[in-house]
Structure formats: C-alpha cells, structure tokens
C-alpha cells in the first residue's frame, strides 16, 4: 500500500500534465485567497468568496457568449463579483449585519440565481487557447504549467505582487492593517475603520472576479451550477493555513491545488481511486491542516469582530 502510494506520488511528480492541473487549481484558489488575505488583514471574514467566484463565472460565461471577447467577459465577470462584494461590504460593515449570515445568504442566493438563470438562458463557451511564453515555457516539468497558459492565468503574476504592495507599501495598507489589529486605536487616530474594511472586500471582489472568469473560461471551459462546488471555502482556509501571510497563503493554494488536481491527474495516470474519497479529500485535508496550524498562528487581532464606535 505504501509502495503504491509512493509510486503514485512519483508518477505525479514527474508528469507535466499533473503540474498543469495542479497549478490550474492553485491559481484559481489564489485569485480568491489573495483577495481574502487583503480583506482579512482588515479584520473581515468573508465566506461569500464562493458566491463571488460563482457570480463571476456565470457572468463571464454569458458575457463571452454574447460579446465574443474574453476581455469584455473579464470585465463583466469582475462586475458581477463586485456586486456580490458590495452586498457583503455594505451590509456587514455599514449596516452592521452579521458577516457570516450575510455571507452564507449570499452563497445560497447566488447559487440559486445562477442556476435559475443558467436554465433560462442559453449560452456556450469554449476553453480559451493558451498563450505560450517562449523560452520560459521550455523549462522541464513546470515550464508548461507556468508559462504556457491562458492569458487569464498570467494575471496572477500581477495580482499577488500588487496586493502585497498595496497592503505593505501604501498608507492605505497601513490603515487597513490597523483596522484589523486594533480598530479602536485606529479610530481614535482618525481612521475610518469600516471604510477600510469595505474597501478590502472590494479588492476581494476584483480578484475573485478574475478568478471566477479564469475558472469558467480557461480552467473548465463551460459553466455549470457546480463549477465552484465549495472550493471557494478552500481558498478561505488557505489564508489561515498561511498564517495570514501572503507567502503562506500562496503556499496553501499550491498545496490545496495539488490535492484538488489529484482527481484529474491520478486517473489520467492510470490510477483508480474512489471518486467520493477524492472529492472529499481536499476538504478533509483543509480541516486537518487547520487543526494543525490554527492553534499556532496569530490572526489579526480584530478578525471577525465587527467595529461599532461606542461599543467595545
């Protein structure tokens, strides 16, 4: 059994296709996780990442079908995701509704809405073609996975550093972090805590919008109700896995991406694995990972604590 496991892993580790699959999911997760990392730095916990992904995927698919332009589809996808983000942001951090309740309701609502509309409308898309970057894509094993991808994939190389820069090199980022660590002090210092928190969620809306578009146009190729299928939550937990550092978050996305991809890679390599087991494994792994890491890492002090001036 162990021998089988080891040889399976070895096969996966040496298969280019496996890397491609793994990074497909990793990058998809990373679009959401990076945005959520920004948001959690300001103290919010948004389980509506799932809804943002889904809204973007649906809207981008329809957009692609109607306009034929991937770029326009991206904009539409981001727009849809921002719409969801705005409900989360405004209801939870301007209207002080419980952020978990809002997030959960959004997930249910958007799933229902997308399924409903998908059955009423007809549209079709196809997987977008890869854009090959010369030389780099010739690197053995990982070259194809990293540099011979759909153009939407490459956006992650932009999104991650930009988010890092925003959070650590700008005044906005400083204020964002203070809102997440000690909102009372930030408030006394003249910072609008809830405004920064809302803005963090809007950033999430943008990145998740890209992620959802990427998912439907590049990773999967067509829309279906279950296209996100709970993987938005995995993006959330990548942030915890990473101890609320961006580096760790990205690492978490890679790890979970690998596991998510086993479902494709293993059968392709000739391994027979129980479908249910494989489908559950990323979630089980996520839980295990949190069980190991959550006790040790330090979250932003005010994470998931709504800020209302006058109340402690």
């Amino acid at each position: 059994m162990i021998g089988d496991l080891l040889s399976a892993l070895l096969d996966v580790a040496t298969s280019e296709a496996a890397y491609i699959n793994a990074l497909t999911f990793a990058v998809f997760l990373a679009f959401g996780a990076t945005g959520e990392w920004v948001a959690e730095k300001s103290g919010t916990l948004n389980i509506s990442v799932e809804a943002m992904f889904l809204a973007a995927a649906f809207a981008a698919a329809v957009g692609m079908d109607r306009t034929g332009s991937q770029f326009t589809a991206l904009l539409i996808g981001i727009g849809a995701s921002l719409l969801v983000a705005s409900v989360q942001a405004e209801m939870s951090h301007r209207l002080v509704a419980n952020q978990f309740v809002v997030g959960l309701t959004l997930n249910i609502l958007i799933l229902g809405l997308a399924s409903f509309l998908a059955s009423e409308l007809t549209f079709s898309t196809r997987k977008s073609d890869p854009v090959t970057i010369p030389i780099l894509s010739d690197i053995p094993l990982v070259g194809q996975a990293l540099f011979d991808r759909a153009w939407l994939f490459y956006l992650i190389y932009l999104v991650v550093p930009v988010c890092w820069w925003m959070v650590f090199r700008t005044r906005w980022g400083l204020e964002l972090r203070s809102a997440g660590e000690n909102p009372q002090s930030a408030d006394v210092s003249g910072i609008d805590v809830n405004k920064r928190r809302r803005q963090g969620i809007y950033v999430l809306g943008v990145t998740a919008g890209i992620g959802g578009t990427y998912l439907v146009l590049a990773a999967v190729g067509q829309f279906e109700d279950s296209i996100v299928g709970g993987r938005g939550f995995i993006a959330l937990t990548a942030v915890i896995f990473g101890g609320w550092t961006l580096r760790g978050t990205v690492a978490g996305c890679v790890l979970f991406g690998v596991v998510l991809s086993f479902r494709l890679s293993l059968p392709a390599l000739g391994y027979e694995v129980s479908g249910d087991l494989l489908a559950a494994s990323p979630f089980v792994l996520t839980i295990l990972v949190m069980a190991i890491f959550a006790a040790r890492v330090r979250s932003p002090n005010a994470l998931a604590q709504p800020f209302i001036r006058g109340l402690k």
């Binding site: 916990l45 389980i47 409900v87 209801m91 209207l95 002080v96 509704a97 419980n98 952020q99 978990f100 309740v101 809002v102 959960l104 309701t105 959004l106 249910i108 609502l109 958007i110 799933l111 229902g112 809405l113 399924s115 409903f116 509309l117 059955s119 009423e120 409308l121 299928g229 709970g230 939550f233 959330l236 937990t237 915890i240 129980s274 249910d276 087991l277 489908a279 559950a280 979630f283 089980v284 996520t286 839980i287 949190m290 069980a291 190991i292 959550a294 006790a295 979250s299 994470l303 998931a304 604590q305 709504p306 209302i308 001036r309 006058g310 109340l311 402690k312």
Partner: protein
C-alpha cells in the same frame, strides 16, 4: 474569534449604549411606553418595506426572464396551501425546518456559528436509514430507534467541529462548512456499498444508488385533518419547540448557555466551562439537525422513505435561514418555518408556469437579506442617536 453583534442585540431598543464607562456620560434616561409603541410601529413598517422590495425584485427577475410574476405568485399560493392537501405537505416540510432551526437557535445562544446543518441532516438521515433498514423488532420501537440514530449521527458530525474548536482553536464557522461537503461524500460512499446503506440489487436498477426503503411499519404514522395529511412528527416538533423555549429561558442550563454566548469570560468565572456547555450546545445543534434528517426519512414527504444522494435537498441550509430570520426566537422559528416551507411546496406548482423551480431559492435569499436590514438599521439609528447625543462624528 467572536461573531460580535448579532441581531438579537437590537432588541434592547430602549437603551442607548451608554455603558457608563465614564461618570461624565450617564446611562439612558429614555424608554417610556409610548416611545416603545412608536418604535414598534416604525419597525413594522420597515420590515414591510424590506419584504416588499425583496418580493418586488423577485417579481422583476421573473418578468425579465420571460415569465409572469402573477402566474408565479398564484402557483406558489396554490402549491403551498390553496389546493387541497397542500397544507399537509407544507406542514410536512416545515417539520424538519423547524427542528433544524431549533438546533441553530441553541448553538447561536451559546455564541457559536454552526452553518453545517446540511451535512448534519444528511448524516442523521444516513444513521436513521441504517437503523431503520437493519434493525428488527416492532415498528414503533424501530421508529424511535431510528430517530435516535438520526440524533446521534447529526450530533457526532457537529461534534467533530466542536472538538476542533475547543481543542485546536479552529473556527467552527469554517469546519462546519467544510464538513458539509465531506459529509455528503461520506454518505455517497455509503450509498455505493451494500454493507453500509446500498439496497440489494433486486428491486432497483443498477445505476441507482439508493438505500433500502423503510418498510410500512417503520414509517412515521400520518394523520389527516381537514383533508390534509401530515406525519405526526409535526406534534413532536412543536413539543420540542416548547421544551427548547422553556429550557433556554427558565432553566439553569439555559441561563448558563446564554451567559456563555453573551460573555464567555464572565461565564468562565461563574463556572460555565466553555468546552462543556459550548461543545454540548454544538452537539445538540447537530443532534437536532440529525433528528430532522431522520424525521425527513421516516416522515414520507421526502424521497419516499428511501435515502438517496442529495437527500437533504437544502433543508439544512433553509432551516438555518429560518433561525436567522426568526432572530433566534422559537415562536418566530415556527412561523418562519411555515413560510419557508410554503415557498418550497409552492414551487412544486411552478412547472405549469414555465418558470424554473430554482426561482424560489432566489426569493428565499432575497427575503433573508431583506429581513437583515431592519434590525441593522435600527441598531445603527440607536447608535447614531447615542453618539449624536455625545456629539461624536458618525
């Protein structure tokens, strides 16, 4: 990680949150009866407006996609109570919703965020199916046993999240959520294996992955009142609702659970061990969801007494929403369960209108969001009044 403010805090409308930190800023001096009445009137109007907006948006959605809002509305009314026998069906659907909501109320009062009811329902139904199909003996005994099995299944599933929370500090909002998918895969696996849940080959087509059907004597008896048939588990649910309300309000246990939810540190000082009371509340919450699963299976309104993939069919999620909409109050939960059940049974009549069933999910979601707004607005206004009195910028 605390969830901070929750809707039930808004009920303290008569207070300004002058917590008396500084002697300069004394406590509230308001709250006369007439003021409260005026406020209640305002509250009602606010709710009505928000509900109207939600329904209006839904109607718009229907119109825009080529359907007729009027037809849909009529179909919903027909399907939920107008046509004969439908009320019975609605009650049958409301039963598990109420049970799930009751469990959610308990965990919320304890300060926990349990959003994994969908998975807990499924596990409960699975345990109930196993007991119901494998256990021999007199019918009523098996029924009771399978319901207990449901409770156990749901409680165990929620228990995983509780253990992770209290031993490893993992936020339960995430674990319960993730466990929903894991649970569904687990039961799915069970439905593929005969030694677990899968029915033997004869009597079902090869591609069906379903459990054995519960035999006649293992089904919850149904009664007929005024032409409407529904399982007697409805009475059980109401009785349990009364018990829960009583327990939370008047027992020492309920007092301690509420203490835990409102101030865990003070509770610790007073002898309320978070692990014990919180973990217990969590498992109770899962147990209620599991009971709902068992009641669904043996009640007959879902899946024809057979466990199938996707069995919970959103009852878990909806039950959670029922509790939210009811603002964690038992009376409200009964009412809201009926409303949400009506949406479901009403949607059964939508086929004739050409509008896709899923539209009721949208209506549901919009309603919940809409109902979140009035308490939040009121709370804000209360804050604004207090800080305006204090002169702070808002």
């Amino acid at each position: 990680m605390s969830t901070g403010f929750d809707e039930s805090e808004v009920d303290a409308i008569s207070l300004t949150p002058g917590t008396g930190e500084h002697e300069d800023e004394p406590a509230s001096t308001q709250s006369t009866t007439s003021r409260r009445l005026a406020v209640s009137g305002e509250v009602l109007v606010l709710y009505l407006i928000c509900i109207a907006i939600a329904l209006g948006l839904s109607a718009l959605l229907v119109q825009v996609t080529g359907g007729s809002a009027g037809d849909v509305f009529n179909a919903l009314l027909d399907g939920s109570f107008r046509k004969p026998g439908r009320i019975g069906l609605t009650i049958g659907v409301a039963v598990p919703l109420l049970l799930v909501a009751l469990g959610t109320i308990i965990s919320t009062k304890a300060g926990l965020v349990n959003i994994g009811q969908e998975g807990q329902v499924f596990l409960g139904a699975a345990f109930a199916a196993y007991v119901g199909t494998e256990m021999g003996g007199p019918g009523p005994l098996v029924i009771v046993a399978l319901l207990i099995g449901g409770v156990v299944g749901g409680a165990l599933w929620a228990g995983i999240a509780a253990v992770l929370k209290y031993r490893r500090n993992v936020p339960e909002v995430l674990t319960t959520l993730l466990l929903v998918t894991v649970g569904s895969q687990l039961v799915g696996y069970g439905l593929k294996n005969q030694w677990l849940l899968l029915a033997p080959a004869e009597g079902r087509s090869n591609r069906q992955q379903v459990s054995k059907q519960l035999t006649d004597d293992v089904r919850i008896p149904r009664i007929t009142w005024f032409g409407n048939e529904f399982p007697i588990s409805a009475f059980l649910a109401l009785a349990i609702a009364a018990l829960v309300a009583l327990a939370l309000a008047s027992t020492v246990w309920g007092f301690r659970v509420r203490m835990l939810g409102q101030n865990p540190q003070t509770a610790q000082r007073a002898g309320v061990a978070a692990e014990r009371y919180g973990g217990g509340a969590m498992m109770l919450s899962g147990g209620f969801a599991g009971l709902a699963g068992g009641a669904m299976l043996a009640g007959g309104d879902f899946g024809n007494y057979t466990l199938v993939p996707g069995f919970p069919s959103q009852i878990g999620w909806t039950g959670l929403l029922v509790a939210l909409v009811a603002r964690q109050r038992v009376i409200g939960a009964i009412f809201a369960a009926l409303v949400f059940a009506s949406l479901r049974t009403g949607s059964g009549f939508l086929a004739a209108t050409g509008v896709e069933r899923r539209v009721t999910d949208v209506v549901q979601g919009l309603l919940v969001l809409a109902l979140l707004i009035p308490p939040a607005l009121l709370f804000l206004r209360q804050q604004r009044r207090a800080t305006a009195a204090a002169g702070d910028r808002t």
